[in-house]
Structure formats: C-alpha cells, structure tokens
Symmetry: C2
Subunit: 496 residues, 2 copies
C-alpha cells in the first residue's frame, strides 16, 4: 500500500527532480570546492578529524543522524536517514580520505586548493576563475584537486541529490558509511563493521568509488577480483661464479627460473597448471553480458601500444573472469652497464594473482607449489643452508602473502535488477554491467561481514588521474552522479 | 751439431741448475719484494713508467737488450737475449700492471708495501718480519701485495731463473713481451704487435699468467675461451599497467622473456638451438686427456654448494669444450618490498657466451637470432616506436657486443710435446694438460697476429685472491716457477 502511494508521489515529482537547474549544479560545484579544500591524508589524524567535522555538518544539514564509529585508528563516519521501518534500507559506502600528495608534481600551487580548468589542446589545460560559473557552466570543465574524483565528488553528489530529491520522494531508508582509511587499504574497517552489524544492517550495499567505464556510459560493477602474491627465489651456486670458469657447469638459477615460470603458461598467456581454472564456467548468457560491454579493443591496444593481447578469454571482459598469474618483477644479478661476467647466485620472481570467487588463494598457491615440485624442485620457505644446497638438485624458496579476497554479486540478484531499472528509466539506456572488474578494492572483507548484496556504482571519469598528480573530475560526471543518486533514491526496490 | 754440444753442456750443469740454493731463493724473494713496492695501476702512466724503468735495469743486469714499444697508451717493454740465429726463439709474455686497489679492504697498511705472512688457522694470517728469511725460509709462507701473483712473481721467477741457468745452458733465444695494460684488456697490444712483427717473431709463445690447476700440479694450458655477449629486451605494454586492470590481457614481457630464454636450453643446461654446438667433436683421445685432469667434482660442488652440475659435458673439462650461453642478469620491474601490482613494460636479460674455436661469435649470435625469430619475434636493435609496437605481436630488442676471440693450440703440436717433456723431466710427473680453460684472456688477438703456437704456463697458487684484496703468492710456487723456467730454458725444442 505504502509502495503504491510512493510511486504516485514519485511520478508527480518526476520533472522537478530530474531536471537539474543551473543553480543546483552551481551549489554542488561550490560545495565540492569547499570540501576539497580540507586536506585528507589518512595518515594525518587531524586531516581526518577536519573532514569528519565538515561531513557531520553537511549530513546534519540534510536531516541525517551521524555517529563516529571508532576503529583502532581513524574513526569512520556513519550517517543515516530512516524514513520508515517498512521501507528497505540501502547502505552507501564512500571514503573521505585521499592519496598522499607530492606538491612538486602538480600543475597548481596546492592540490588542496581546487582549481577550475578547461582543456586547450593535447594535454594542456587553462585555469578558469571560479567566478566564471556565475555566468556559465561548461560541463566539460574540470575541477583539479586531490580527491576530486577519488572519492569526494560522489559524497558531494550524494548530498546534493538528497537536497534535490526531497525526503518525501525517497523510496528507501538511507545509511552511509564514510571510510577514512580506504587509501591505506581499510585495515580496520572489517573489524569495525563486525562490531556494528546492527547499526549497518541494510538490504543492499552500494559502493560509490572508482571510475565508470571508459566509454562514459553508466556502469554497474558486480564484483572485483581479489589478490594474493608470492615470491620465488631459485638458488644457484652459493656466490656468483665467474662465467668463464663455471659457465656450462654451475647450474644457472636465471635459466631455471625462466624455465619454471615459462612452464606455468602457454604461449598465449593461459595458465597451464592443472586445476588452476577449475570451477569457472561461463555460460552463453554470461558470455553475452561480457560481450555486451562496449570495450574498444582497438582503443585499448592503442593505449597499451600492443598488437595482440593474451588469450585467456575471448575478449577483455572474459579475461577478467579468470584468476591471473602475473610476473610483476624479475631480478637476477645485473644487466646493462652493470652486467658482470658471472653465473648468478639466485634469481627472483615476484608474482601476483588476481583472484575470482572460484579461485581460493590457498588452493591456487597449492597448485603452483605442486607444479613447481613436479619440475623436480624442493620448496623452502627460507634461504637454504649449505646442507640443503648440497642435498637437493633444484631448490626454490617460495613465500606467499595472504592478500585480499574477491567479491562478486550475482548479475541476476534483485539488487542488480533494481539498479538496472533505476538507470534505464533515467538514462534511457541500459547500464553497462561489469560482472567483475579487474582490480581489487579492500572492501571484500567488510562486504562479507555485512552479508549484504553489493554493487559498485562508479561515478567519475576514467581519465581522472586517480592516485596521481593532477587528479580531476569532469563537471558532466558530477551532474550525472547526482542524476544517478536521485534515480537510486527514488526507484523502489523490494526488500532483499 | 750445435744442439748436441748444447745437450752435453746441459747434462753437465744439471745438478747446479736444478738444485735451488737457499741463497737463490732468498735473492728471488727480495727482488720480488722490491718490484712489488712499485705501484702499477695501468691507468696511472707514472706507475707504468716506474715499472718499465725498474724492469729495464733488471733485464740489462741479465744481459738482455730492451726496447720500449710505443702504443696509443702506455708503452710495452720488449726484451731479448739472442744466443744464436740457429737456435729456436721463444717469446714469453707477462705483464707488469696490476688491478687497481681499494686500500680499505686490505689487511695491511698498503697493498704496495709487501708483507710476509704465515697461515695460522681458518682464514687467519700472521705477519712475519722480512728479516726472518735470513734464518729460515718456510715455503708455505706467502707474500701479500698487489700483483704478487698477477703477474709480478712470474717476471721475478723468470729473471732469477736466467741467473741460475747461465747463458751457456740456454737452449733457445729468448724474447720477452711485458704488457702494461693487461688488466685493462690490453686494448692496444694487438696493434703494437702487428707493427712490430719482426721484433717479436718467435717459434713459440709462452704466456706466464694466471693460476695453475687447483690440485697444485704443474699445468700447461693450450687455450682459453673467448667471449661475446648480448642483451635481450622483450617489450610489453608501453608503460607498466595495473595488474588488476590488465593482468590476463596485456602481454607480460617477463613471461615472454622467461619462455624465450627457457626455450634455448634443455633442463640440464645444454643449448637446444640448432647448430649451436656444430663442429665440436671430442674424440676418445681428447676425452681421455680431459678426463685425466684431476678436477675433484666433490670439491667443486662443496665450493659452489651445488648438488648437481649442468650436463653440457660428461665432466668439468668436457663442459668447457663447448660454447656457453649464460644468463648473467635479469631485470623486470621490481621484486621484494618494491614489488608493485603491475604488468611490467619490459623485461631484460643479459647473456654472455664463452666461445671456443669452433664457435664463431657472429655465427652463434646469428643462430640465437634465428631461434628468437622462430618463436614469432621481430628483432629490433633499438627501442620500438609506437608504430612498431602496434605492428608486431612479439617484439624484442637485441644488442650484441663483439667481444674477445678464443685461442686453442693443438695438444699434439710440437710446442706441447716440448713443454710436456720439459716438465716431465724436471718434476718426474706429467703436467696437467688443459685443452682450453673456461675463462678469457685478452691476448687472443695478439697471438693471432703473431701466428705462433702459444701455450699458457701458469705459475701461481690458485688461492691467490687474484684481482681482490689480499692478493698473495705462496713461496713454494715461486721456487717451482724458477724450476719451470729453467726446465723450459734448457730443454731443446725443434724450430716449429
């Protein structure tokens, strides 16, 4: 019954909510400018205090209750607006902290003094006076500042979307979790969440972080890969040996490492270790969804300057459905001008594995170990002793790190259908559905702790220089972010 | 006729020549001490001048004529004692210059102030007053000084052996070439030799440099391996890429380099590139000579702390008869604490090849290139352009360096038979015959220029810390060096 009333109300207010006025855009821009002016290095407790203070005021102004949730380090901020116990509740996750800055590398005096710029040509940008927005707002303009995209714009879009929606049009109760250590890997978040499960309980979790698809179309991301890593050190003679005296005699650890690594994949980059891809079956429906993502291989290849990609999947999205086995570093003795005429004493490879839900990290590491043993190696977890060196024909030290788990919400889950409906109704197009994204976000443990279906709804331009100097956000994305939030706030969802 | 007279004369003087008196040993020790006191860094022209001055005096005292042979850098010193045009002429090569020193790493005040020491225990040495030799000479004592072994002891042994032999007992004319830039790779020697072929003409060339076999038995070395080298850089994406976004898609250059290097050898270190070992055939007689070298595999494996060597040959000496293909360095992105979650942009291998006479460096490098191409690579000699990156599925940059040629004198050549006779008659044992040694000396070009059969007759202890701090020579090796020179001076050889 309530739902029907609500829908009528929504239809009546449609025009006023979804036609963004210039004044509303200007308000959001100025509030973002103000928020960006507060430094937000998570390592600096005072920075975080100032951000929390500002956020508390901003949320109170919108009728939210707030609460600082203590952790072992910086507190996180919780905010909520409960309309009715009968409505479903949506929890939004965003973060207030930003990457540290190296002022010398920015094209502006201070990364915490936001600058408005317009694109001139190539990679040139021209500063525009803030007062310009009184006359005209060109949505191609960008705000340059640390955290402009990652992740303060979504917070500002959220607040202004609340203003523009009006409490009477909200179709759900709203909870917000504002992390203060995301850029540090959110080391204390999962524990804090576990200690406050009742406070955070919700029917859906929406994560507003990261860039939307490079094509610029609205994007829903249903999961992200996890990560684990290991190091291999193959041992040769105890010290580097003269390559004249011992070349062709002393076992060369660089060759052995090369052969070992080479044996783990085929020529096209597919892992050949038995069982590595077990459990992964992409049915036709899933393949169709993956193929529907408008990745532009030509563009990616131009960007990476490559002729042919690896062939783990039939396309880019398919390749992300499988765990990776990526050699991220190699080191043995010296190369270039430092090269010496030696047989090296050891050779090291650093490997990272991006995980998907089917690939338990311990299982994969176990398979890699088994593969290495099948090649005649004895595996140690420390540097070998003389006795071990003399006793074993092939010795490798393997050290693995735990890492971060992946998460993936079923594409058919109610949260997915709801968000697809919300976007489609407001953009007149289906959003891009990303089954799992390649990268890793540190929130899988807290998602798991909450036991709630989660989807990432990214909002910022892909070319935002995230984590780098000259981070920026394009104004059209701010406008769309408000539109997306309003769509989410006002599209009814069933309790899930 | 002359030869017969000579042999009679030799037999008469046998006892006096080959019984070394304590006084003769003491004279040699003191002369070596004096010679070692002259600094001899080849980069310091004044050092070399002082050494030449001292050597001129020393050779004149023994009735040699001397001549400075100019090069583009330091002059080399030539000395000769021509007895009769009817006698064969033997040219000896030694060098006066030494490696640069790092005084802080020596266990004595100055590497150019020789110190006499005796071994205490483990790696401890105790200094002995030089005056001790007036009372007693313990042949286990050692002289510590730069160039004690490399290469001033042989020069002093040579001079004192001349004194002890007496001109009337010489069975050959003697020429001596004293290099002044050996430790710099003798960059100007071959040219100087080519310009003075008549001056240096001889029937045999004896090179007195390097250590004798580790077993301590008298050693003849019939050749040394040459060397060439190359670098391979396999190209991935133009910049390092996020291993989450592009792991399983961007071609990983570290994997590709590993597979490429791994494909060049089998599991036992034998090169599998077609034709790489062409021309090398070890007949049974040669294998027997190689097997007769008293290498102690147990000892080598203890020294290197390895369980099993590569299997290029059936034993250590056999392995040296083949060109090597030694990965001497690997580098791609970062490992250890610096490891980053990236797909590297490139991966580099530094490779050296020790050459034998059957393996022309250009031919081997050509075979490696062909092998790389057979794996689908396009080979460049510089970093690829964007166009090249986009046009080729597999790209590698290969840069090869010329290097140094090997030399090898036939074990059956008259010079070999003569030296074997000389050693056997004076040591009552067959010398160790090394067909080719693993390392590379820079004299192959000058040997080639002279077109004369050459054999290396090393004289110093293997544990002499050559090129390192605390270089030393054991007194018993000085005594044996004089014995060896006297054997060579007095054993008749046919003109070859």
């Amino acid at each position: 019954m309530l739902k029907h009333v609500f829908i009528v109300s929504l239809l009546l207010s449609w025009t006023s909510i979804f036609t963004q006025t210039k004044e509303e855009t200007k308000n959001a821009i100025l509030e973002l400018k103000e928020f960006l002016s507060i430094p937000n290095n998570g390592l600096n407790r005072d920075d975080i205090k100032s951000n929390i203070k500002w956020l508390e005021d901003a949320f109170h102004k919108r009728g939210f209750k707030t609460q600082e949730v203590q952790t072992l380090s910086n507190p996180v901020l919780f905010a909520e607006k409960i309309i009715s116990e009968k409505l479903p509740t949506v929890l939004f996750y965003m973060h207030m902290d930003g990457q540290a800055v190296d002022r010398s590398k920015w094209d502006q005096a201070d990364p915490y003094i936001p600058v408005l710029k317009q694109h001139i040509e190539n990679e040139s940008w021209e500063e525009i006076a803030w007062s310009s927005i009184d006359l005209e707002i060109n949505l191609d303009w960008r705000i340059f500042s640390r955290s402009a995209s990652d992740d303060k714009m979504p917070i500002i879009a959220f607040l202004n979307a609340i203003d523009q929606t009006g409490e009477e049009n909200l179709s759900c109760n709203i909870k917000v979790l504002l992390d203060s250590e995301e850029e540090l890997g959110s080391p204390n978040l999962a524990t804090a969440v576990k200690e406050n499960l009742a406070l955070l309980s919700a029917n859906a979790l929406i994560i507003n972080d990261g860039p939307i698809h490079i094509s610029g179309h609205p994007t829903l991301i249903f999961g992200c890969r996890g990560m684990t890593s290991f190091h291999l050190t193959v041992w040769g003679p105890v010290k580097p040996q003269h390559s004249g005296h011992y070349g062709n005699y002393a076992p060369n650890p660089a060759l052995r490492l090369a052969q070992l690594l080479g044996s783990m994949k085929d020529e096209d980059g597919r892992v050949t270790i038995e069982g590595y891809y077990d459990g992964i079956h992409l049915d036709e429906k899933t393949k169709a969804i993956l193929a529907s993502v408008p990745d532009n291989p030509e563009k990616i290849h131009q960007l990476l300057q490559i002729n042919t990609p690896e062939k783990v999947g039939a396309n880019y999205q398919e390749s992300l459905q499988y765990p990776s086995l990526n050699i991220r570093g190699l080191r043995s003795a010296w190369v270039g001008a430092q090269a010496r005429t030696i047989v090296p004493d050891n050779a090291v490879a650093a490997v990272d594995i991006r995980l998907v839900p089917e690939s338990d990290p311990d299982r994969l590491i176990g398979l890699v170990r088994k593969h290495i043993e099948s090649k005649g190696y004895s595996i140690l977890d420390t540097e070998p002793t003389k006795e071990q060196r003399l006793a074993h024909p092939r010795l490798v030290t393997m050290t693995a790190r735990g890492g971060v788990l992946p998460f993936r919400t079923d594409l058919d889950a109610p949260i997915g259908k709801w968000l697809n409906t919300a976007i489609k109704n407001n953009y007149n197009e289906d959003p891009i559905n990303i089954r799992i994204m390649g990268g890793t976000v540190p929130m899988a443990p807290f998602i798991k702790a909450l036991e709630v279906p989660a989807v990432i709804v990214p909002m910022v331009n892909a070319d935002n220089n995230q984590h780098s100097p000259n981070e920026n956000v394009k104004l059209s994305y701010l406008v769309n972010a408000m539109k997306t939030f309003k769509a989410i706030f006002t599209t009814p969802l069933d309790k899930m």
